[in-house]
Each structure stands twice: as C-alpha cells, then as structure tokens.
C-alpha cells in the first residue's frame, strides 16, 4: 500500500446515531462501508482522506425489507446479500443480476449498495438499475432524514447532493410491473469495469438508463419519450446513440460505446417482442 498506514485514523461507532454525531462534529471523517473502493485509492496512494468512520458493524443499515409497498434496501447490504434476498429476486431481479456481475465473490461479500452509489463512479453497475427503478435515496444526518429521488442524486462526475454530514441509510424501490432487462459490457467475461451498462424497464413509456457513457449514469429521457410517442426500437436506438455522452478513455472509445448502446436497445426490443 502506497499510503502510510500509520497516519490513518479509524473511528468505530456503535450505532447509527453515534456515527451521525461523529460526522456532524468532524466533517473530515470519511465513512467506509466495505472499503472496496476506498482501499483501491489508498493502495495507489491517491486517496486524500486520512480519517475514517467504519460503518461495517452497523447491522441496522443492512436490512432488506418491504416498507409501504416499496422494497427498502439498507445502504450496507452487500452485493452478495442482495443476490440472496428473495424480496429482491422476486421484485427486481435486475438488481440481483447487476450485483452478480460486480467484481468477484470476495468483492460481492464486502462491497455494498450504498458504497457503489456514494462512490459515484459512472461505471457503477447498480446505478442504471436504481435509475430505471425510480429509486429513492434515504439520507440521514444528526439533524434529520430526507428523501431524494435517485435520478436527482448525482450532480456531476462523482458529485452528489449528499452533504458531508449525511449518510446514505437506505434505498427505496417502488414496485415494477413491466418487464426488466439488464446488460453489462466489460472487457472480459468477469471482473471488469463496465464499458457500457444498461438497464431498461419496459411498458408504454419505458425507462432506460445507461452507465459508463457520461459523467454520471444517464436516464435517457429523450429516447424514452420517443418510444412512448410511437418510435420503433430501431428509430429509438439512433436517438439513444445521440443522447448518451461517451468519451474515449483507456477502456474503450466513444464510437464503440454509442454503437453498443443502440444495439443493446434493439436487443431489448427483440428480446421483449417489440
């Protein structure tokens, strides 16, 4: 590890309340859940923070249950727990599918949904699913709780509306009646960061979201509107290719990503008989 370990501090709260109070008192505290993203930065010696708040023992943030008809997933639920949850696999199987494609088993046992979202990487594999699920992010601080639509959570590349004194405590996902579809495209069959990751919920007015093709995950509202307005999937694919904003980077090219987005939407159309 390139970061000097001796210079790091770790605070271990006993309850969510204690954690929130600590965050209110010390805005430099970085919450860590599974630490799978944070550790990569520490190992490379590029992570700026030195004071950490360990959320891992906070069992109450790990619950998955049904609340007011919505499925509520605690921020600390791991990708492995999500795949095993009957509530998830019966109501929103594409979330389980996304979690199954995150890293390997070790990462899935440790990495959390809250961490995947709070980390804010546009390549986070659960993000397009939460976007098409019209999820709600539940944020809590010492001074109270607020609910933010997932689609208003990100404000730019790795920036969110979360205040430094707030924790993500849960996600609420309303029921989905229409067909669900998910596809991750990485450089190899497993253990790869997405080059394109797409989730779709069908219906008269479908919901489409794509990751790794812009500074944040993108809800493709123009494409959605075009389909709602009667466009064919082939026509909609062209609109989607224009709507996403990919770049050339070390993993892929903008033109490849655009083309694959279009193809995947056509595939969704074909798979779901449209």
């Amino acid at each position: 590890m390139r970061t000097a370990a001796a210079a790091l501090d770790l605070v271990r709260p006993k309850s969510v309340e204690q954690a929130l109070r600590a965050m209110a008192d010390d805005p430099s505290l970085v919450p860590i859940a599974g630490c799978t993203d944070v550790f990569v930065g520490l190992n490379a010696g590029t992570f700026p923070g030195t004071r950490f708040l360990d959320l891992w023992p906070l069992e109450e943030l790990r619950e998955i249950g049904i609340r007011n008809g919505a499925i509520a997933i605690g921020a600390l639920a791991t990708h492995a727990m999500i795949q095993e949850s009957a509530a998830v696999t019966s109501r929103i199987p594409i979330l389980a599918a996304a979690c199954r494609e995150i890293g390997g088993i070790q990462i899935q046992n440790r990495g959390t949904l809250g961490g995947n979202v709070a980390n804010g990487s546009p390549a986070g594999d659960t993000l397009p699913v939460l976007a098409v699920a019209d999820a709600v992010v539940v944020l809590r601080s010492a001074s109270g709780e607020r609910r933010v639509p997932f689609n208003a959570f990100f404000t730019g590349y790795r920036t969110t509306v979360r205040r430094p004194d707030e924790l993500i405590v849960a996600f609420e996902l309303p029921p989905i009646v229409d067909v669900q579809w998910f596809r991750k495209v990485g450089t190899r069959a497993a253990q790869a960061i997405s080059k394109v990751v797409m989730a779709v919920v069908g219906g008269e007015r479908p919901r489409i979201a794509v990751g790794s093709v812009g500074p944040t995950v993108i809800r493709c509202t123009k494409t959605e509107a075009a389909i709602a307005g009667g466009a064919t999937f082939d026509e909609a694919s062209h609109i989607l290719e224009a709507e996403v904003q990919p770049i050339d980077d070390i993993r892929s090219t903008a033109s490849y990503r655009r083309r694959v987005c279009g193809n995947l939407l056509r595939r969704f159309g074909a798979d779901t008989g449209r």
Partner: protein, 702 residues
C-alpha cells in the same frame, strides 16, 4: 518404476500449496532498509536539476555518481545506464535511489526534478535509431515474385503485452564477505551475477546471487532483475545494511519490460493451385528506449517469420528500432508470436485469395523431413508439421464446422506453427552451459543455475536424473540456485531448460553411473563421501550456423504444433468469445505430461489474452492502464474448453527425445483466433482484436 513420462508429485508442491514457500518479500534480514526508485516523468529530455525536499536523516541516497563500477546494465550492448546521468530516454527511467528503515518515511520523501523536455518519438516507422537489423536470404525472391501466378500482400500489427507474473519484481541485497549477496525473484541468476560484477566493480567471488521462490516470470524476469539487483546492491553497499527493493504492481507495469510491438509486411507469390513460390517479409520491432534483448528477440522473430513452410525463395528483412518508451524485452515466445501471427494470417488471406481450403493450403506447403527452412536448415525426421496439422483438423472436425458455422455468428480458424528449442544460432556454443550432480546421503543432488519459476524445472530435471541413474525420483534432491555453489547452466529461457540443461544432466548421470558402478549413489556417498560430476554443453554433431549470413541450423531442433480456435461473436457488443480450442503439439517427449499440458493450456490462455483483450494503452510514452483493473488478462470464464493433444515424435537432441514446450504454446492462439474471426467475414489483421476494432471492421464489411 521410471519417473519420465509419469506425473510424479512436483518437488515444490507441498511448500507452495501449504503457503510455507518463502518469496522475496517474505524475507527479513536484521537491520534491513527499504528502498524506493525515483523515476523520470517525461519520455525524453535532459535533467536540469534534482532537489531533495526532505530531511535526509536516516536516508541512504544514490545517484549515478555513486555507481562504483560502470553505470550500465550489462547485457548485449552497454547503452542503458543503471541511473540516468543527464539524458532521459523514457518515462520511468531510474534517476535516484533512496533507502530508509521506515517505509512510510521513505514514501513521503519528496524529490523534485526539473527537466528540459525534448520532442519524444513513439512511432517506430519514423525511428532512425537502429538497434539491430538482419537479413535472411534464400534463393531469388524478386525473380520468383515476378514469375508468380498470384501475389498476396499484407501488413500485420501486434501490440505490447505485459508478462503479468503474479509476483512483481523484487530483490534483497545483503552486504557480506566484502561483497554482496542478492536474493531475488529471477529467472537467470548468472545474468544478474555478471551485471552486478560490472556495476559494482567487484570480483566474481565477492558476488553471490540466490534465487528465491519465484512467482512467475514469462521472460519478465530474464533481464530486468539485473537492474533492480544492481540498484539494491549499490544501496546496500553504501548503507552497509541489507536493502529490500520490491516493486508494487503499478511500478512493475510502468517501468519493466513488455513484449515488443511489431509491424510485419508480407508479399507472397503462389501458384494458382496453392504452392508457395516466394516469401518476401519485412519485420519491424519497437525496442523502446534501449537495446536490452532486442537483437535476439528480433533474430528469433525473423527466423520464425516464414512459418513452418517449404519455399525456395525467401527474403526476410528485419529491423528493431528505438522509441521513447520503456525498453521492451523478453516475453515467452521471444519475437516468434509476433512474426508467426503475421505469417499465419497471411496464409489465411492467401487461401481466401485462391478460394482454397486453409487447411489444404497449409498441407501443401508444410515442411516435411528433408525440406529446408528459410535459413537453409534441413529439418530432420522429427519434423511433424503435417501430422499435427492433420490431427488437429480431424479432431476438431475443422471441415465440418467450417461448413456448419458459415453464415452464423460462429467461426473456426487454425494456425500451424513451430518453435526452435534452445538459444538461436551459435548461442548455445557461446553459452557453454554446465550442470552437475553430487552424491548425498539421500541419493543425488542436482546442481544447476536453472530456475524454477512455476513451470516445473526442478521436477522435470529430477525425473530425467532419476531415470538416467536408475534410482527412485524421491532420491533426487533439488534446490534453489545459488551462484556460489552451482555451475552456470545458462539462463532459464528459450525453451532450453529441458532439452539443453536436461541433456547435460543426463550426461552427468551416465558419467556418475560409470564412476559408482551398480551402487545406489547414497551407498557410494556413505562409503566414499561426496562425488561431484560436472559436464559442459556439447554442440550436437553436424550443426552449423553462420552469424554473419544467417544461414544454417538456427536451432538444434524445432517443436511443431497446430491450434484450432472456435469463436463466437456477440452481434450486439462485438465481443469475441473463444468457445473451444484444439491444441495438437509435438514436443518430442512429455517428461511430465501434466506439467506439459499445463504449459500448453497456460500458454494458450495467455495467447488468447494477447489475441483479444490484453492491450497496453500508451499515452505520452507511459502505460496509462498500469493496474490490473484496466490491463486485463483472461479469467477462467474467458478461457474456452481445451482439447490438448501431446504428440511425441522423439528428437535425438534432447533427453528421452524431449524438445522445448515453454514458449511454443503462445505462438499459435492469436493467428488461430484471428483466422476464426476472418471466417466470420471480418478483415482483422491486428491484435488485440478488441471489440472496438471488431466493431470498426463490422462497420466496413456491413
């Protein structure tokens, strides 16, 4: 019971499986310091000023002025400095070395360097810095081309490839006995020994190199350990304390050698019925900033550039040139994967141009015993190119599948290839390797400089010695080479450790058997004390090579193989998934069939990575994806089922008929896969054939 040909337990298995094997980073010496290398951040320029912005208490600091011997990495040419003086030729060039007992303090130390930047050159086609050129001429190519019924031309490109051994480079230097001992993860203890002698200016007997258990090499620990060992040794001698220098993955990928990128052009004349009449080949390799091993990589690449084919008129012009990237170096296959990729895709395009079955084209032209190669070498009875081809075609149902897959998203392709065992040309004669056996209270001990790097050296050598002496395998002792007590058996490279070093050991064994009569060596030891037999390499009879003209017997012998790749393309994402692989490989004799199959499977997987996903992204002369997050190698899910067939046509050059198996398996997968992609109707001539490149080709052909 004979050991050769059976799957005896590996000599190193218990320690490795139980985790008790000690790798260099597991070792701790009293008073040991940790070291760090300060490197250039620009690809070309001059150093103006170096400022140390930290408290120097407890630090040992070294720059080029502290080099006690010559400031060079002693290899083929002495052009590479151990520590840059003024001129910078690539990103990550070592400038300064720091050591301190506390790792965190060491890491925090800030060094600022001012440069006068110069315009770097990254395009090898524009380079005027010639590192090596050579020419192989057989017959009259121009005339034959002029008379050919059909001429096919093509250009083929291959990228860098990172060895990605699981254990990064690392050493510990310990000052002792008026000199220094270096313990390290390495393939060639005596290369390191020589480099240290020149860098430190110490006599031979003051330098000792001990290999530690090594977590893979693939060529990446052939020449590079000379650099890191000299760095640690300079620090240790100045500090008068042991110094540990271990690279993390990022530094290892950024600073150490990779496979040479290549551009190969072919102009081939053929008759309408598919006989090769002329092969005109130009090979260009990008050597990076210093010569390192480029001349010999180029040489092996050029000798294999015409493939395992008979052709009377061949001209191969090969050049390695300099660019401002970190030097490229040894990597499994050593130039042959690049040039055999080119010739095998060219063969496919010839078949396409003639509307001919690709297997038939190869069958017509494959070398048979008695034919001559491009260098004029007459191949012997162990030349089995035709047999491996026919067997692979049959086993894979090549023709049936070629028909069934046509027009689907599946494709099937093949490659026919060969690999010379041992050093090129007069290399083995110049090396004059030695190996020894010593009787012990258990039986006999093998004394060689050959390194176990995961491939099974110790086990395979012990099998050869056991059967040659007629004693149980368990009675043969092996160990880690230590230059102070083993003879120099040459480097552990070039698919030579079985055929060449194993051959010397076999001679040691028969000599020892003569000396001790019918006795078990243990019994002889008890009665007479230790007996040591040392033997030197003896050049095989009737082998002649001319370094100046590149004519003659380039290798004592060759191994032969044919790969068949079946792939499937995802029409939405353009990903190519290998679905099945057939590898028929004739290596003379499988001393240990499981280890041999492991080499073939592993080399094939590494070749699949080379073909499809392993892409070194270079930006401004530096590897931009120098982490395992973004430089990806195949996982088991990316690796297809493999039908590995070991063919054993014995060669009289190796022990029990064995040739080499370490490298050949990586020569074939890339062209077989690209030819399978061509079967899908996509014109690919470059690797890695990433989905991005496939998408472009699909766009053109649509």
């Amino acid at each position: 019971m004979p050991a050769v040909g059976t799957n005896v337990p590996r000599k190193d298995s218990t320690e490795k499986v139980t985790g008790t094997a000690r790798y260099v980073d597991d070792l701790v010496f009293p008073g040991m310091l940790h070291a760090r290398t300060i490197r250039s951040t620009i690809p070309r320029g001059r150093i103006r000023d170096v400022r140390l912005s930290f408290d120097r208490a407890g630090f040992t600091i070294i720059d080029h002025r502290d080099v006690t011997g010559r400031n060079v990495v002693a290899l083929i040419e002495d052009d590479q400095p151990l520590l840059a003086e003024r001129e910078i030729r690539h990103v990550a060039e070592p400038i300064l070395l720091l050591a301190h007992e506390d790792l965190d303090t060491l890491r925090r130390a800030r060094v600022d360097i001012d440069y006068e930047p110069l315009e770097p050159l990254f395009d090898p086609t524009r380079s005027t810095q010639l590192l090596k050129d050579l020419r192989i001429v057989k017959g009259d190519v121009e005339q034959a081309l002029a008379g050919a019924e059909v001429v096919v031309e093509g250009e083929y490109r291959t990228g860098h490839q990172e060895q990605l051994y699981i254990e990064p480079n690392g050493v510990i230097a310990v000052p002792e006995n008026g000199g220094v001992t270096v313990h390290g993860s390495l393939q060639c203890p005596f290369y390191v020994h020589k480099a240290l002698r020149i860098a430190l200016g110490l006599p031979d007997d003051r330098i000792r190199v001990v290999q530690t258990e090594t977590g893979g090499g693939f060529g990446g620990k052939e020449e590079y350990p000379s650099v890191i060992a000299a760095h640690a040794a300079l620090l240790a001698l100045k500090a008068k304390r042991p110094v540990k220098l271990i690279y993390d993955r990022l530094e290892d990928m950024l600073a150490t050698t990779k496979r040479h990128p290549s551009i190969v052009r072919h102009r081939t004349g053929v008759t309408r019925d598919g006989r090769l009449v002329a092969m005109d080949i130009e090979v260009l390799m990008d050597g990076g900033a210093y010569v390192t091993l480029s001349p010999v990589v180029l040489s092996r690449g050029a000798i294999h550039a015409a493939g395992p084919y008979r052709c009377d008129h061949v001209r191969i012009e090969a050049r390695a040139v300099g660019t401002n990237t970190p030097p490229n170096g040894a990597f499994r296959g050593f130039g042959a994967p690049q040039t055999q990729f080119a010739v095998e895709v060219q063969m496919e395009r010839i078949a396409e141009a003639l509307s001919m079955d690709p297997a038939r084209l190869r069958e017509l032209n494959a070398l048979r015993p008695g034919d001559t190669t491009a260098t004029g070498q007459r191949v012997e009875a162990d030349c089995s190119a035709l047999q491996v081809l026919q067997q692979a075609v049959e086993r894979s149902d090549f023709h049936g599948k070629r028909e069934r897959y046509a027009g689907t998203n599946r494709g099937i392709g093949l490659s026919l290839f060969f690999h010379g065992a041992g050093f090129t040309g007069s290399g083995e004669v110049k090396l004059a390797s030695r190996a020894a056996l010593c009787t012990t209270e258990r039986g006999v001990r093998i004394l060689v400089g050959s390194a176990e790097i995961g491939q099974g050296t110790r086990t395979m050598h012990a099998q050869i010695v056991a059967d040659s002496l007629g004693i149980p395998y368990e009675d043969v002792e092996t160990g880690l080479p230590d230059t102070s007590n083993v003879p120099d058996s040459g480097p552990t490279v070039a698919s030579r450790t079985c055929m060449v070093v194993g051959g010397i050991l076999q001679r040691c064994a028969s000599d020892l058997r003569e000396r001790i009569g019918d006795m078990h060596p243990r019994e002889h030891f008890t009665k007479h004390g230790a007996t040591v037999v040392t033997k030197e390499y003896e050049p095989p009879h009737g082998i002649a090579w001319d370094d100046d003209t590149y004519r003659g017997d380039a290798y004592a012998t060759y191994a032969w193989a044919c790969d068949v790749a079946e792939v499937e393309m995802d029409p939405d994402t353009y990903e190519i998934r290998p679905i099945h692989f057939t590898a028929v490989q004739d290596i003379g004799k499988a001393i240990h069939p499981v280890l041999v199959a492991g080499q073939i499977e592993g080399g094939t997987a590494q070749g699949i990575g080379y073909a499809l996903i392993e892409e070194v992204v270079m930006r401004e002369g530096a590897m931009a994806n120098a982490q395992m997050t973004n430089y990806l190698v195949p996982t088991t899910l990316d690796t297809p089922t493999m039908d590995v067939v070991i063919v054993e046509t014995p060669s009289h050059h190796g022990p029990f008929g064995a040739k080499g198996v370490g490298e050949m398996p990586i020569d074939g997968p890339a062209p077989a896969i690209v030819n399978a992609i061509r079967h899908l109707g996509l014109d690919i001539r470059q690797i890695p054939a990433t989905p991005e490149r496939i998408a472009e080709a699909a766009c053109v052909s649509a």
